[in-house]
């Protein structure tokens, strides 16, 4: 019987000899916060993930790539934009009202002081840049915003249930973060490749300041106007930031053969040596797989440039089409680019353009737009800008690796010229270091103050502009086509006259095109009319409501949860 006791004691002691903290287990493959934030390398680790938030081409495998500026007056997708058509509904949640990225930036800025190393300041600057970047995204959607400068917990009720600060306070908050970033960040040459730097922050600052400056100016007196508006303050900041970047001399325009330098700029795989590109997103399908390839090879990508955009290009003599003898009309794709600003033919596919260059160097030429494929072009004006014609021998098709430009130097020049023009301090010298450099690249005549030929078809913004400002805006529309700035431009210029009751059109629906697809919608003048029965406004045009649609609605759940939040003008609670 003693043996029984021995066995029991033995077994029980084995049982309890296992550590007494049996149930106290901590993660084995995750870093817990207290062990982090030691060196500047930790800071870099944290920030690397934030770079994922920069948009680029659609990932390989989705079937087609969204081209920036789709859903504006100058470029469309096969389906209409609800925002322009005024058919956005008040969502119960979501709808862009997302604060997780701001939280991530705040969490970083709260902890950055815990780390040591040479690059701590620079990374702190990146943190400010990102907070500004995320805030600006919310700002353009919603206007007034609560100022959240710390990472919140459920207990932070004074923040969670706070009211929205007026838009100019938000703009100041963003610009302030950018000033910190500019102060703290290093320049391109002092950093590893592909990291954000001081110049990028300067360019972004000019974008933000120009946005707020023009918004305050053109929305003054409307429901969207800012209280105590001071557009000049922001316009000056925009001009100064752009000028500081221009004076820094670390970037220049990419130039070359005027008949193709502009086109060549946008279809490269690697931009690391490009003097004009401040920041870009890289792809590498072959080595890294599907997540790192893009679908921008899937032309025409369900996208098309509108007739309205095509008509806005000047002729090669610097005169508008209604005046210039060089204009040959737009009755066929073959003539529409003839005698025009070279950026027109470098942006729009017309017969004779290079369609494909095989691995052995054989060239196929473009004949007709794709009107039948799943990814067909709704306007017949297919994109040539961004199109890379080379077959990649490694994948046997067009490359999936084309880079995406996020910031380029030309924008600084355009921002500078526009800000100076809006301030009324524009000089010929200003134009010569900005707009005219862009025109030189493509071989267009200079823009000369005092010698501008009036265009009877200048866009009717609903208000009048000095002639040079019409042309600066045209320059921006032409130069930055498809680069994602147009929607913001329409909003800050209060340009609803270009939207309401309007419908985007395409190319002339010639018999040749009808032979390809006889079933496309066509307007009374015989041009493609892709949204013929799709829009909700007057005359079958966009139903944009100028008293509501400049800002997006705040989700209804948020208003229920926080009674200090006030809905944007025109929207139901």
């Amino acid at each position: 019987m003693k043996k029984i006791l021995y066995i029991l004691v033995l077994f029980t002691s084995i049982l309890f000899s296992c550590d007494s903290d049996l149930l106290d287990l901590s993660p084995l493959d995750q870093i817990s916060d207290p062990e982090f934030w030691k060196t500047d390398n930790d800071l870099q680790l944290y920030l690397n993930g934030m770079y994922d938030n920069f948009s680029g081409w659609s990932r390989r495998g989705t079937g087609w790539s969204w081209i920036p500026d789709n859903g504006t007056d100058i470029a469309i997708y096969t389906h209409k934009s609800d925002r322009l058509d005024g058919t956005v509904n008040v969502p119960s949640s979501g709808g862009g009202w997302s604060w997780s990225k701001v939280r991530n930036a705040n969490y970083f800025l709260e902890n950055v002081h815990r780390a040591n190393g040479d690059l701590v300041d620079h990374y702190r600057g990146e943190g400010y840049f990102f907070r500004a970047w995320f805030y600006f995204d919310l700002f353009t959607q919603f206007g007034d915003l609560p100022i959240i400068d710390k990472s919140l917990t459920v207990e932070d009720e004074d923040y969670l249930y706070s009211a929205r600060a007026p838009r100019n306070e938000v703009a100041d908050f963003i610009l302030n973060d950018l000033d910190s970033a500019i102060f703290l960040m290093k320049t391109k040459d002092e950093l590893p490749p592909m990291r954000l730097n001081k110049d990028i922050a300067l360019l972004f600052k000019s974008r933000v300041a120009l946005y707020e400056g023009t918004w305050e100016k053109y929305h003054a007196g409307t429901v969207f106007g800012a209280k105590n508006a001071n557009p000049e303050k922001y316009l000056q900041q925009a001009a100064d930031a752009a000028k500081e970047l221009m004076d820094g001399g670390r970037y220049t325009l990419y130039t070359g053969d005027t008949s193709r330098a502009y086109y060549d700029l946008f279809n490269q795989i690697d931009y690391s040596g490009n003097p004009e590109v401040l920041f870009w997103k890289q792809y590498n399908y072959v080595e890294l797989g599907r997540n790192f390839g893009n679908d921008v090879w899937f032309w025409p990508n369900r996208a098309g440039i509108t007739r309205e955009q095509v008509r806005s290009y000047l002729c090669a003599d610097g005169l508008p089409i209604s005046v210039s003898p060089l204009y040959q009309g737009d009755t066929t794709l073959s003539v529409v680019t003839k005698g025009r600003d070279p950026r027109c033919i470098q942006s729009v596919m017309v017969p004779g353009d290079v369609y494909m260059i095989s691995t052995s160097g054989d060239t196929t030429f473009f004949a007709n737009p794709d009107l039948t494929d799943n990814n067909y072009c709704p306007t017949g004006y297919e994109w040539e800008k961004f199109r890379r014609p080379y077959i990649d021998p490694r994948v046997g098709s067009f490359s999936f690796d084309q880079g995406f430009i996020i910031f380029r130097y030309a924008e600084a020049l355009l921002n500078y010229a526009e800000a100076k023009a809006e301030l009324g301090t524009l000089t010929q010298a200003d134009l010569d270091i900005s707009i005219n450099l862009l025109r030189d690249r493509v071989g267009m005549p200079h823009l000369i103050l005092g010698a501008i030929t009036p265009d009877p078809n200048w866009p009717n913004y609903g208000y009048n502009l000095p002639d040079y400002l019409y042309e600066i805006r045209r320059e921006r529309q032409v130069e930055m086509l498809g680069e994602g700035r147009r929607f913001d431009d329409l909003m800050r210029w209060r340009a609803h006259n270009l939207i309401i009751g309007q419908r985007p059109h395409g190319t002339k629906y010639t018999d040749d095109l009808k032979a390809i697809n006889a079933n496309m919608p066509e307007d009374t003048e015989g041009y493609l009319d892709p949204y013929q029965d799709a829009l909700s406004g007057v005359n079958g045009g966009y139903g944009f409501d100028p008293n509501r649609d400049y800002l997006k609605p705040i989700p209804s759940n948020e208003l229920t949860l926080n009674d200090k939040l006030v809905q944007n003008p025109g929207w139901d609670k």
Binding site: I7, T12, L23, D24, D33, D42, G49, T153, V154, V286
Partner: protein, 1059 residues
């Protein structure tokens, strides 16, 4: 049990020795047989006397009987007594049948066994007879439909070789993680599919909280206890048992693709509806017609240029007539299984050794997919001393699975892509020199070349070891000490080699690019260690019976996975990390959890008439923060055997009637590890820094500090009834379960928080259901038969949930789970005038002009506009509940007949009612983009006017198709509608078996106890109203309906041999 029988046999023998023998005698000998083989210990007595003997270890007996004796009586506990007239015979062999119903039947329960009559919880039992000889992949497939309210449904892996099933008891659910029952095999948690069904003795399913409470926090969703076979005292004789089965399989139901010409014309109609050019121009249609009439007479496809063929999208526009179902599926797949076991023992020791092998090749002709499994089991038990028994269990299982893989989209894509193959796509490339001839090179779209080069391989090993000591210090007092250890080592390998296709210029085009060829192995190891110690004591005090059990358990689980991705295979012949010269990435995952538990049980009964049971368990889990770590789970149950009362009126009719009631509470620790610890995740960035992916950390979420157990509280009322001399037996249970503290979202907080609100325990779901089991067994002479039916049902309602706006996209109070919100429709528009007359604005569904052939939506709230309102319960526009996808009235019916060695059995399983909203996958047919589109025969019933070459079809079921994805098809397919609700009820003949056992007088000559041959079938018949899909694989794999690996229809032959 066997032991008890033997004692009885020896006792009978003892009596015999005391009796004087009579003078006039003759000798009779023979052998006693049963379906399990020869029976030792059977008492053989001359009727009306005390003269007799018992059979020896080989079942033989030898008896001197008086001349006057006319009848021999054979009796054995658990068997029906047999009386045989002697006549002039000198040899009398007897086969004994098991008793139809034994009052002493025992049931395996948690940490012990119990007499069935004393069970007060809801426990169902499946026996080995129900599982044996089924040509199925695994135990789960054999168990489907056998136990009321134990649901087994196909996973996204469908009927793939080796695929497991989803398991659920009584509809119990968690909002977090899995709600599968806790499966224990001989007391050790493991996947039941790692057991060879032939080694299973019995399966107990503990359904209510009272019977599973002893497992506390592991058992919130019920418990399945599997007991495997053991050795017995065979008086030193070894019993050898060999079973095999050879089976041939075919897909049950695969939708039939329309004939090539109808396919082409339907796709052209869809293109026209989408304002696109026809996919098949007149030339292609002519060639197609020519090939239909005279196969091979027209060119099937042309080169586009030197480099590419004009294959259209998956063959759209080509002119071949390929029957892809015929090409892709074998006529017959093959499976086999074998099980050899040797068992035996003496009073001092016994053993059971078993080897099982299962091998299944799949259904696809070129898929080369297979599954095989090897099981090696041993169970040893020794009476070491008078007071100590030692036992040792070893179970080893290894299985292997090979399947085609898609290097971009993975496993699930395989069955997705084949639904996109158009019948006009040729199987082989034409000979570039003469396009009317074919090469023997498969077109790459057929996927066949890819399947050869891109594979997923899985190899599993599981080793279970469990040394056990059982001590009996005093009579009726037992102490069990068990050390359960399980180790799993699995390796999964993904391999993407290059394959090639033929260019029109006769060059080989290799894909994928060499640098993206890939070898990606992962090693997944985990171990489970659980010491258990428990002790029980019982005693009768007069008519009062007491039993007390207490115990302690701890569990430690660790996992450690390493996975690698190596690119750029230098050689396809030797894929390895070392021979890959491109990028190499290694990743790992590690984690652990532990529990500590105390448990106990008290049983009491008075004359087996009034029965009480109390269970208690306290569980601590590492998954919760200190302070919220411990959960306490009590349960109570009682039974009242009213048929034992003296006042019980119909005793001659009713043999047994027990009323049961139970209540108990259980916990669920199935939440992620470490939820309460703030951690920063690590991952690779998606942004390339100078070509490199850099690592990044993600900020911690707010931690769920107060998270604790989800609890299930179940009340069960039941009844067991046996009537007509135990021929009829019935069990009925009604239950109500409240799953409380469901882990759900925290309080709603403004989105400014910027992260998800920590999870909280705040949801509650009420489940009410019932289950009934009725069996009838009888024997008339040599003819025995039995029939058994099970039927069950439940419904589930959310009673608490944090959803203040009552938005319909998540749970809300009052939601019946499974309900389908959608629109009522009123058929299809026939004319443009009808569209105008309808007078309802349908632009919310799709802002496009509605055309004849599109769906009419019914305006429920008379606002002349179809919409979803706020999509909340209070304002849901024109939406309403249009069905419920919960399977209702699940049933199983089994029957068996035995007559002179012939046995026949069948098993039917089904679902009585189920609404299905199928708008995904291939359901849309041609109403998809051209890549995804398919046209099944039934799809030809789509709306078209007389401009279609197929003729007008105004009374169609399917609306006007648009060749867009989804585009204008959103008019008809965007939301659930009454139009597309399908009836998901079905009835399926799961199993049919016909066997013949050779008479023992023949087999005895070869020293064989039993020799049985049988023919069996699985899934032979299906009754369903569902359109073209198999009702069991409907939701298909990851890519939607109709894209799952089909289930198999199987025909098999097999042998059972015991000697």
């Amino acid at each position: 049990m066997k032991h008890f029988r033997r004692v009885l046999g020896i006792f009978t023998l003892g009596i015999l020795f005391l009796l004087p023998a009579k003078a006039q005698q003759r000798e009779i000998s023979g052998r006693v047989n049963s379906e399990d083989g020869y029976l030792p210990g059977v008492s053989v007595v001359v009727k009306g006397t005390t003269i007799g003997t018992i059979t020896d270890a080989d079942g033989k007996y030898h008896l001197k009987v008086p001349a006057t004796a006319d009848t021999l009586v054979f009796s054995f506990v658990g068997m029906q007594t047999v009386e045989v007239p002697i006549g002039n015979r000198q040899t009398i062999d007897v086969t004994m049948q098991k008793e139809v119903k034994s009052m002493d039947e025992v049931v395996v329960v948690g940490y012990g066994i119990q007499k069935k009559v004393n069970v007060t919880g809801a426990v169902s039992v499946a026996k080995k007879e129900d599982l044996e000889n089924r040509p199925v992949t695994n135990t789960q497939r054999a168990l489907q439909g056998l136990v009321p309210n134990l649901q087994l449904t196909t996973t996204t892996y469908g009927g793939e070789p080796g695929a497991g099933m989803n398991m659920n008891i009584r509809g119990l659910l968690s909002l977090q993680g899995s709600s599968s029952p806790y499966v224990l095999v001989d007391g050790i948690p493991m996947d039941m599919n790692n057991v060879d069904p032939d080694d299973i003795e019995s399966i107990s399913v503990l359904k209510d909280a009272a019977s599973s409470a002893i497992y506390g926090a592991r058992a919130a969703y019920g418990v399945v206890l599997i007991t495997t076979k053991s050795g017995k005292n065979e008086q030193g004789r070894a019993k050898i048992s060999y079973n095999d089965n050879f089976a041939f399989s075919q897909p049950t139901i695969i939708p039939e693709i329309a004939d090539p010409m109808s396919f082409a014309l339907a796709m052209n109609d869809a293109a026209k509806n989408a304002h696109q050019n026809p996919y098949y121009d007149q030339d292609a249609l002519n060639r197609l017609q020519q090939n239909i009439e005279h196969p091979g007479s027209a060119v099937t496809m042309y080169p586009k240029d030197d480099l590419k063929w004009n294959t259209g999208v998956m063959g759209l526009g080509c002119a071949a007539t390929t029957d892809w179902n015929d090409v892709l599926f074998k006529d017959w797949g093959f499976r086999q299984k074998h099980n050899l076991s040797i068992s035996g023992g003496t009073e001092k020791a016994n053993y059971y050794f078993s080897t099982g092998y299962y091998d299944e090749s799949g259904l696809m002709r070129y898929g080369n997919e297979y599954y095989d499994r090897l099981n090696l089991d041993a169970k040893l038990e020794a009476q070491a001393t008078k007071w100590m028994k030692l036992a040792y269990l070893v179970k080893y299982a290894t299985s292997e699975k090979d399947f085609p893989w898609d290097y971009q989209w993975g496993h699930g894509r395989i069955f997705d892509v084949i639904t996109k193959l158009k019948p006009t796509l040729p199987l082989y490339y034409p000979n570039p020199d003469n396009l009317l001839e074919f090469t023997d090179i498969f077109v790459s779209q057929s996927q066949i070349p890819r399947w050869q080069a891109q594979r997923e391989h899985r190899k599993y090993h599981q080793l279970v070891m469990s040394p056990r000591i059982i001590i009996e210090p005093l009579e009726n007092w037992q102490i069990n000490m068990e050390l359960n250890y399980r180790q799993n080592n699995d390796k999964v390998t993904y391999l993407a080699k290059q394959y090639w296709w033929l260019r029109p210029n006769k060059e080989k085009a290799y894909v994928p690019p060499r640098p993206t060829t890939r070898y990606a192995p992962s090693h997944n190891n985990n171990s489970y260690l659980s010491p258990n110690i428990y002790s029980s004591w019982f005693r009768n005090f007069g008519d009062h019976f007491f039993k007390i059990m207490i115990g302690y358990q701890q569990e430690q689980y660790k996992y450690d996975n390493i996975s690698a991705n190596a690119y750029y295979l230098l050689s396809d012949a030797v894929p390895s990390i070392s021979t890959s010269v491109g990028d190499k990435k290694v990743d790992d995952a590690m984690g652990h959890w532990a529990t500590q538990s105390y448990f106990g049980r008290i049983n009491y009964n008075f004359k087996e008439k009034y029965i009480l049971e109390i269970n208690f368990r306290a569980d601590g889990s590492s998954k919760f923060a200190p302070g919220d770590r411990w959960g306490y789970f009590p349960s109570f149950s009682g039974g009242y055997v009213i048929s034992k009362e003296s006042f019980f009126p119909v005793k001659d009719l009713v043999d047994f009637l027990k009323l049961r009631i139970s209540y108990g509470s259980l916990g669920n620790q199935n939440v992620a590890n470490y939820l309460y610890i703030p951690t920063m995740g690590t991952r690779l960035s998606n942004f390339l820094f100078n070509g490199e992916q850099l690592w990044t950390v993600t900020p911690p979420n707010l931690t769920s500090v107060n998270l604790t157990w989800e609890k299930v509280k179940t009340t069960d009322v039941g009844m067991d009834l046996r009537m007509f001399n135990n021929r009829l037996s019935t069990t009925f249970d009604w239950y109500q379960s409240y799953t409380t503290d469901l882990v759900g979202p925290g309080e709603a907080v403004p989105a400014l928080l910027g992260t998800s609100v920590p999870k909280k325990n705040n949801g509650e779901v009420r489940i009410r259901g019932w289950e009934i089991e009725i069996a009838w067994n009888d024997k008339i002479g040599d003819f025995s038969y039995g029939i058994r039916g099970v039927l069950s049902d439940y419904n589930r309602v959310v009673t608490k949930y944090n959803n203040p706006t009552k938005i319909l996209s998540t749970y809300y109070v009052g939601k019946e789970l499974g309900e389908i919100w959608g629109f009522e429709t009123a058929g299809l528009f026939q004319t443009e005038q009808e569209v105008l007359d309808w007078g309802v604005d349908q632009s919310f569904i799709r802002a496009k002009k509605y055309l004849p052939g599109d769906l009419k939506y019914v305006d429920q709230n008379d606002d002349q506009k179809i919409d979803v309102g706020d999509y909340t319960l209070d304002n849901h526009g024109d939406m309403k509940v249009i069905g419920n996808s919960t399977p209702r009235y699940q049933y199983g019916v089994s029957g068996n007949i035995g007559w002179k060695g012939i046995d026949f059995s069948f098993f039917i399983q089904g679902i009585g009612k189920r609404d299905m909203d199928i708008r995904s996958g291939t359901m849309r047919g041609p109403a998809q983009g051209k890549y995804h589109a398919t046209v099944y025969k039934e799809h030809l019933d789509y709306w078209r006017d007389d401009s279609s070459p197929l003729g007008a079809n105004p009374n169609a079921y399917f609306p006007r198709p648009y060749s867009q994805n989804p585009g204008d098809n959103n008019k008809n397919w965007r939301f659930p509608t009454t139009h597309f609700i399908q009836n998901g009820a079905y009835m399926r003949l799961k199993s049919l078996q016909l066997g013949y056992t050779l008479p023992s007088k023949w087999t005895r000559k070869a020293e064989i106890d039993k020799f049985r041959v049988y023919l069996s079938g699985e899934n032979l018949l299906t009754f369903t109203k569902l359109l073209f899909y198999d009702p069991e694989t409907i939701y298909g794999n990851w890519w939607g309906a109709g894209k799952a690996y089909p289930l198999s229809k199987v025909i098999s032959v097999g042998v059972n041999l015991n000697f």
